[in-house]
């Protein structure tokens, strides 16, 4: 049963700003333990679409299902309630603080009700970063001194500590070198194994093709199609992005196959 119920389903989503249709009748889904890439040119609508899942925007019409139940997401707090966490490439860490302070920022662990419990936050951080196979020389290091991959891990650690089921990663490797990109790849594998569903958003297909199980392509606010990366080549997907043309082996959303 669980096999057939997507973790997330966004169905027939519409959103317009003024007279511009930013997202038009888009349906995508995401299963537990799966990575779905969301690609398209700048302005194709992928950011707008995903912001309706993270709670930054609300949809004009359409339905969102989490675990098969219809939900309303009006703000980021609602999204968090449903286990949806967003990882922003560089924006979401306070460089002057250490990993535990960042992981627990805004949701600090307390002792006796009103004092920070730094020991508990440090221990919990170490645990969660271990889960991500991240070995920091010291968790008390300010994150400004960490590598891009390590910083990404801290941001992910922040999400998974609070039991995220659905991760949205915006351009996760865009600013990283090859070595750090590989590190993030490993992190994503680890998270898949733990049963999380991950949306990867990128305007550059190369960033996400190898990491994704499926890719949903958007163009001019509409869905071109969703394909299994195993069935197609990068060139096929590029043709979808540029020409809006489906390859012959194109697949429908996984839920419709069952």
């Amino acid at each position: 049963m669980a096999e057939n119920t997507p973790l997330v389903e966004m169905r027939n989503i519409y959103k317009s700003f003024g007279g511009v249709h930013a997202v038009e009748d888009v349906t995508i889904d995401l299963f537990a333990g799966e990575v779905v890439g969301l690609v398209g040119h700048n302005g194709a609508g992928k950011s707008t679409l995903i912001k309706m899942l993270s709670g930054a925007y609300t949809a004009d019409s359409g339905k969102i299902f989490i675990d098969g139940r219809e939900v309303t997401i009006n703000n980021p707090r609602d999204a968090r309630k449903y286990g949806i966490e967003t990882i922003y490439q560089t924006l979401a860490l306070a460089d002057n603080l250490d990993a535990p302070a960042n992981i627990f920022l805004g949701r600090e662990l307390m002792r006796s009700g009103y004092l920070l419990n730094d020991d508990a936050m440090e221990a919990a951080s170490r645990e969660v970063l271990d889960r991500l196979r991240l070995n920091l020389p010291s968790v008390k290091e300010k994150v400004v001194n960490l590598s891009g991959g390590q910083r990404q891990a801290v941001a992910i650690g922040r999400a998974i500590y609070f039991n995220a089921k659905i991760l949205i990663m915006d351009e996760p490797t865009a600013a990283l070198g090859p070595e750090e990109t590989a590190q993030v790849g490993e992190l994503i594998h680890q998270l898949k194994k733990e049963g999380l569903g991950i949306f990867l958003i990128s305007h550059d297909l190369h960033d996400v093709f190898d990491l994704s199980d499926r890719v949903s392509v958007l163009k001019n606010g509409a869905l071109v199609g969703t394909v299994h990366t195993a069935d197609v080549t990068k060139d096929d997907v590029l043709a979808m992005i540029i020409a809006g043309k489906l390859p012959e082996v194109a697949t429908t959303p996984k839920s419709a196959q069952a």
């Binding site: 603080l97 920022l105 805004g106 920070l116």
Partner: protein, 343 residues
């Protein structure tokens, strides 16, 4: 990445862990104390610098600026600035003195200035957050207009006298005046301003280090966007830091008015610069996100000791601002160098 960038990065890393700026300030502070001790000993033939009277005197003098430096640390931590504290101090002092002269009672003379301090801070905070006015400009407005208000509510610029002896306790009293403490040898000579100073430092430092609010202040200063995405109300934090700065200025105003036994409309002139200097010398970055309350106290003490030592040595008082300026410029230079190492 390349070999070129690794070297300074490693250096920056070890330096950051040492937090060498604060140690440097501490060393300079202790060094100054030793130098002044021996210089005064040599020149005056007695330990004029490190003596009970002088140490108490220095700390009491520093307490006015030091209390405001605690508030200013919060403001500068979020990469804002408060230029209005000197003028605000004058207004709060005038209000206290006028209430005293009108026999409004001790409680009103204390509470109303504190209220004005908080309200002013909140008003500035609103201008900065909702009005989107840079704090430099908003508080420059306070600096100018509050000086005017202080002069307007005075009698043609004259100080306001007629303060009740009960009010004198705040600035001129000692712990020995408190029933039950009069007989304890060392305790009894500690001035009340120092006690208030100590309480403000303790509360300021504990909130800064141990409370979520302090951590959120640091986060807003480090990366306001990240703080907002983490669910921190950045506007509320900024409102709060200006309110804290305002109440600290009001506390200093009460001490100063009580100690001088009058409200002077010109008190606190250019004091905002002394306060900012103390914070910056204490290692708090004007760019926000890095600093500490205790560092600012150290900065205030360092500047206080400098003035005191130069006074004891009978150095031409016109040299004092020059020396102060050099110390502040050096502190900011060191801050810049440290920042470059970290990047």
């Amino acid at each position: 990445m390349s070999k070129l960038t690794t070297q300074p990065m490693l250096l920056g890393r070890s330096l950051a862990r040492l937090d060498w700026r604060q140690y440097l300030t501490l060393f300079i502070f202790l060094g100054l104390c030793v130098v002044f001790h021996f210089l005064t000993l040599w020149k005056l033939g007695r330990p004029a610098f490190i003596s009970q009277v002088n140490v108490i005197n220095v700390i009491r003098q520093v307490s006015i600026v030091g209390i405001m430096a605690v508030g200013m640390t919060y403001v500068i931590m979020v990469a804002e600035i408060d230029l209005g504290v000197g003028s605000l101090l004058a207004v709060c002092g005038m209000i206290a003195a006028l209430l005293q002269r009108a026999d409004a009672g001790l409680l009103a003379s204390i509470l109303l200035p504190l209220l004005v301090g908080v309200a002013t801070g909140l008003f500035v905070g609103l201008l900065v957050t909702y009005g989107r006015i840079p704090s430099f400009v908003a508080t420059l407005g306070v600096l100018a207009s509050y000086r005017g208000i202080a002069l307007l509510i005075s009698n043609r610029g004259q100080p306001v006298t007629g303060i009740d002896p009960s009010f004198r306790f705040i600035g001129a009293g000692v712990l020995g005046d408190v029933p039950g403490l009069a007989s304890i040898p060392f305790i009894k000579v500690i001035p009340i301003p120092i006690v208030i100073f100590a309480v403000v430092i303790a509360v300021g430092a504990i909130v800064f280090q141990r409370y979520p609010f302090g951590r959120h202040v640091a986060a807003v200063g480090g990366n306001a966007t990240a703080a907002r995405l983490s669910g921190i109300n950045v506007r509320a934090i900024k409102l709060a830091v200006f309110a804290i700065s305002g109440i600290c200025a009001a506390i200093s105003a009460l001490i100063l008015t009580s100690r001088l036994n009058m409200g002077s409309p010109l008190s606190g002139t250019t004091m905002e610069l002394d306060v900012i200097a103390a914070v910056v010398v204490g290692g708090t970055s004007l760019y926000g996100g890095r600093g500490s309350v205790l560092g600012s106290i150290l900065g205030a003490m360092l500047i206080g000791v400098l003035s005191n030592g130069l006074n004891l040595m009978a150095v031409n008082p016109h040299w004092q601002p020059v020396v102060k300026g050099v110390v502040i410029a050096t502190a900011v230079l060191l801050d810049q160098l440290g920042r470059r190492h970290e990047e």
